[in-house]
């Protein structure tokens, strides 16, 4: 009798277990299907056509050319310029936005009123469409535009920035920083709020002044967050497309104008693929960008994963 009961219980548990597994996979199904079709397959496909001479104007003519696309890419002046521009943007945008958002977060973290209001206001540029931001900045910085004229006090020429060989790049970089500061400030703010005030009190008692507290206590405590902000900033900057594209194509100009000074790597990809329809060539560029970003992301994330007491 006992054995029969145990057998029945076992079968019931088995049924429950399979039902649970079935439900689990059912719940994951839409997600898995869509990422398989629209993310995993495209990545593989992109990798494959990067080895082909594939122009969309004549798809059936595609032929396998192994590494030719990649070799030509590294001799392509436009591509090299886009890499140079993107790295230049990295070196300007990431440090400035990190430092400014850190300082701003600290100021906002002290005992002030209206904190939520300030925080919301600083966040506004981040949630605005980059098309809109581009359109606005193009006009504010055009000849006799309000900001152009204001900046003449600081020694800048009164020109249309987006069309000027010297200034266009800095218009893009500056605008990007303007949009990103609110976002990183919020990340720093959350991290700052996790630091208990007893740390600061102890420092005060020991006679430290505000600057010493900031440099020797706050900043070291924010090491992890700063790493996060830096990584996010680097990845986002490597992917920049919308803003420089909108600004440089104003008034029917070619993307990357003037003279390719605002051309980023992703803009190069886009132009190759959708203006010249060299899908294979563009995919090779895409894959190079992908590798750069993917390697950085994996590197940092595994570092984070394996060294939990950072």
């Amino acid at each position: 009798m006992q054995n029969k009961k145990r057998l029945i219980n076992f079968k019931y548990l088995q049924k429950e277990k399979t039902q649970e597994i079935f439900t689990g996979y059912l719940m994951l199904l839409p997600f898995l299907v869509i990422i398989s079709v629209f993310i995993i397959y495209p990545v593989i496909y992109s990798f494959r056509i990067s080895f082909m001479d594939f122009t969309f104007l004549n798809p059936s003519d595609a032929k396998w050319v192994a590494f030719k696309n990649y070799i030509v890419l590294f001799k392509d002046k436009s591509f090299l310029q886009s890499i140079k521009n993107t790295i230049k943007m990295l070196s300007i945008i990431v440090p400035i936005q990190t430092i400014l958002s850190l300082v701003l977060a600290n100021i906002l973290n002290s005992k002030l009123r209206f904190k939520p209001a300030f925080r919301t206001i600083y966040f506004l540029p981040y949630i605005t469409s980059l098309v809109a931001v581009g359109a606005i900045m193009v006009h504010l910085f055009s000849k006799n535009g309000i900001i152009s004229r204001f900046l003449t006090f600081f020694g800048f020429d009164n020109v249309t920035w987006y069309a000027d060989y010297r200034y266009a790049f800095y218009l893009v970089a500056g605008t990007i920083i303007w949009t990103q500061i609110g976002f990183y400030m919020v990340i720093y703010l959350s991290a700052l709020q996790d630091i208990s005030s007893t740390v600061y009190e102890a420092a005060y008692i020991d006679g430290a002044n505000r600057f010493q507290i900031f440099f020797f206590i706050t900043i070291p405590l924010l090491r992890y967050t700063t790493l996060l902000v830096l990584v996010m900033g680097v990845i986002a900057t490597l992917q920049i497309f919308d803003l420089p594209y909108v600004i440089s194509t104003t008034g029917e100009a070619l993307s990357g104008s003037p003279g390719g000074t605002t051309l980023t790597m992703v803009m190069f990809l886009y132009t190759q693929a959708f203006r010249y329809f060299n899908m294979g060539y563009a995919s090779a560029a895409a894959f190079i960008i992908f590798c750069m970003i993917f390697i950085i992301t994996i590197g940092i994330n595994s570092f984070k994963y394996f060294k939990k007491e950072f």
Partner: protein
């Protein structure tokens, strides 16, 4: 005391730097003549709604609005549904390969979207979805960030409620829909607003997947307006910008608490 005054004034200077472009946009959108854009004049006769009426009449602005609302709305609702289910399944449901699937989700999050641009375009052409809502919606219905966010949320979810329901005979799906989901409002709100804002402002992918102006979303449409009217009218393009930005602004101001909390949680953890 001096320190406090210093901080406030610095913060206010930054407010000006942040807000000035928006204020100018609002101002320029109501000015009738292009020549006045760069000066501030109190002459009320120079203001008017002419720009707004013009762009509504001469463009598909209303249609673009409709498109953006439909596309962003459907993506947000589907995303909430599919992402949350997946996030829940990754945490609470005992299935083999749970950990592998989670690592897969993390891996997908690290893929930069640019590499998907060309293949998605080619895929949409093969499916015949170019210039339809399908191309604008389906590839973006699911988002690994959303799955990750909900997974983090459900890790801290009280298990006792679920166990009690299970004893009472509720199936796993039942538990999800009747207990877990209604109590996840905070996580859902954070996810919803991130998805909404990101997709409302999305430009790169739609610019490639949709070439017929009748199917443009707002960013594409406004881009067209600013490009085409550039020579002829700054004021009209500013009116377009205001049109596009107002909904996002309103949604954001209402839900900003959740948005910021959502970012902090995915970012920090």
């Amino acid at each position: 005391m001096i320190k406090r005054a210093l901080f406030y004034s610095l913060l206010c200077v930054i407010v000006i730097i942040v807000i000035l472009p928006f204020l100018w946009t609002l101002y320029a959108s109501f000015i009738n003549s292009d020549l006045d854009v760069n000066k501030f004049s109190l002459d009320l006769s120079k203001y008017g709604l002419g720009n707004y009426t013009h762009i509504i009449k001469s463009n598909y602005l209303i249609i673009w609005y409709k498109n953006s609302i439909i596309v962003t709305g459907v993506i947000t609702i589907c995303g909430l549904f599919f992402n949350t289910m997946a996030g829940y399944a990754l945490v609470r449901v005992k299935i083999p390969g749970q950990r592998i699937l989670f690592l897969l989700t993390l891996g997908i999050m690290m893929i930069p979207p640019q590499i998907l641009l060309i293949p998605t375009y080619i895929l949409m052409i093969k499916f015949g979805w170019i210039n339809t809502y399908l191309a604008l919606i389906v590839p973006f219905m699911v988002n690994p960030f959303g799955v990750f966010l909900m997974r983090q949320f459900y890790i801290n979810f009280p298990k006792e409620l679920e166990d009690a329901a299970k004893i009472d005979g509720l199936s796993r799906i039942g538990i999800f829909f009747r207990i877990a989901l209604p109590l996840s409002k905070a996580g859902l709100a954070a996810q919803a607003i991130i998805i909404f804002i990101w997709n409302w402002n999305s430009f790169m992918f739609p610019s490639v997947l949709v070439t017929d102006p009748k199917y443009y979303t707002l960013p594409l449409g406004i881009y067209q307006i600013t490009r085409n009217t550039f020579v002829s009218s700054i004021t009209k393009s500013m009116a377009g910008v205001v049109f596009m930005t107002i909904p996002v602004l309103i949604v954001f101001i209402i839900f900003q608490r959740f948005f910021i909390r959502g970012i902090s949680e995915t970012g920090i953890k």
